[in-house]
Amino acid sequence: MSIKTLEIVRKRLEERPEELREARKKGQKVVGWTGYNVPEEIIHALGFIPVRIAVGGDDRLVEVGARYASSKTCVFIREIVGAFAENEDPYIQQTDFLAFDATCLQNYRAAEVIEYFFKKDVVVLAVPRNFAEDDAKTYFVHEANEFTRLLEERAGIALDPARLAESVALYNDIRKTLKSIYTFQAAKDNVISWEEVYDLIQAGELLDKHEYLSLLHQTLAELKERHHNPVIESDDGDSRIFISGSLIPRGDRKLISIINSVGGRIVGDDLWSGILPHLDLDIKEISPAGVALGYLNRTPHAALPYLNLESDRRLKKLHELLSQSKAQGVIYHTLRYCDPFTFKAKETKNVLAKSGIPLLEIHTEYAGSDYEAMKTRVEAFVEMIRIKSESVQEEAA
């Protein structure tokens, strides 16, 4: 039986573009943001409506984007550029200005291209490459203050610390509730699927934050009513898959649908379009600097270089999430020309192999032409996990 609140969420998403249109008529401004380190709380506290610019899965828009950006740019960025060129996306249409960050340099390039060709006002938050060093933190605090100043200019008001505290509390509550809901998707009785939770996370990129929190609480209440104590363990015959790698934005469900079609069960992810940005965000001080440092201290994005595998927090987090979800294998999704993740595929595979966790890299783009080839790989990977699992069970018996 499906979770009733999820139906409400889907309905509210359908109504959301019209709501944004009405809000703008009343003088509110919509900020389209994208980037791993954009401190959304600051945008929210200044009275803007934040919506995440994240579109994928449309090869035609990728081709349109390639007319403005290099055809060697990652397909996600090319699609975003293409979406701005066509201006048919209901959320992009409603944006008053944009806030991008430079965590991934292709994201930064997209900001340049969109500003130049489509005359959009874009505020860019610079992000330090050497994020782990003290100087980098000082630099990022400076950039976050400058980012806030640019937003204040556009808001016509100064950032009120009390409003920021309210926004931080709201977002903290959202993150906490999402984490609780996320536990259920990996649990034995499967009362909510990973796919449903993933859609729910992405709904939060668009809906009003207060309403979203209320819908999350409602979802959690429904889950608790059905299943008091979720226990994360394997059901018989499960092939428990964890998804890692390049983001999978709204509109792109190719890999997810393939995994489902061959009988794999997704039980976790560390995608920056998924649960990862909501984990480990600890804001110690209510100020732009405090929020910025909270963001920078999370699990870092793959685009930021870090060469010491022993102390790499990304790998540590991946191991932790794999263990929590009791995943049996990782499908590592890389988008064509998404260098940060593509470069790390082999390294991640080797590291996980030491823990006995197999990794399958799926390198793809938004065209449907590789669907069958992807399906063969994923199906063989699921078969491999299942055979291994059956052989372990037989040995135990």
Binding site: D370, T376, A380
Partner: protein, 269 residues
Amino acid sequence: MSISGNYFAGVDVGSLAAKSVILKDGEIFATGLVPSGVNSVESGLNALNLALETAGLQKEDLTYIVGTGYGRVSAPYANKAVTEITCHAKGTNYLHPSVRTIIDMGGQDCKAIRIDQDGAVVDFAMNDKCAAGTGRFLEVMAGVFKVKLEDLGAIALSATDTVPMSSTCTVFAESETISLVARGEKPENILNGIHHSIANRIAGLFSRVGIESDVFFSGGVAKNSGMKAAIEQALKVTIVKPEIDPQLIGALGAAVIARNFSKKEGLWA
């Protein structure tokens, strides 16, 4: 290896050929190999019927059928579908239990597969979606030189030199080949270069999964002696001599898996 029981069949529908193997009492009883047509259901049935005819059996005599290959998704005659990666692993292990690494080159893709002592897949990698390093690529090249596909390998082996081929894209390689011919390069030397460029590309696949002896070469392209030699050189290995037509390995694996499924489902003891 000997397994007892009834008749089990594996049907492997690839992009260029459809293959079938029937097992009886753990031994290969009959095989079928036909060119694939546009209708993969028909191609699979043609291959299966050929093996049935050779064996003097009816389809009803078969206890269990497993379909594999790209045509496995439309194989209504099969009890189950299994990927060709798993089937090549099982088929190879059935014939050559010491093999731990498989190179499978078919009509439209190429796979590097690592297996354990039971024939279970440990790791694998496949070529990207283009035709480089596949049977189709070699078919195009045979067309350029107007020679039979099955003669390509022997011609390459008669080369006195290796003309480097910079492109593995089928379309670009075709035009590069035409340029090399116009430049006066000998066909056998160009073909030798083509085989080596494919072999080097395959070596790239193995950098992802690793190589462990013994190494086996399956799929239709495995019948090409020039490709076998080029791969042995690129990977610095000696390939195990196949006991049967290497193009039948996927179908054989499917038949072995059919026998296992049948046992698991209690259809025979």
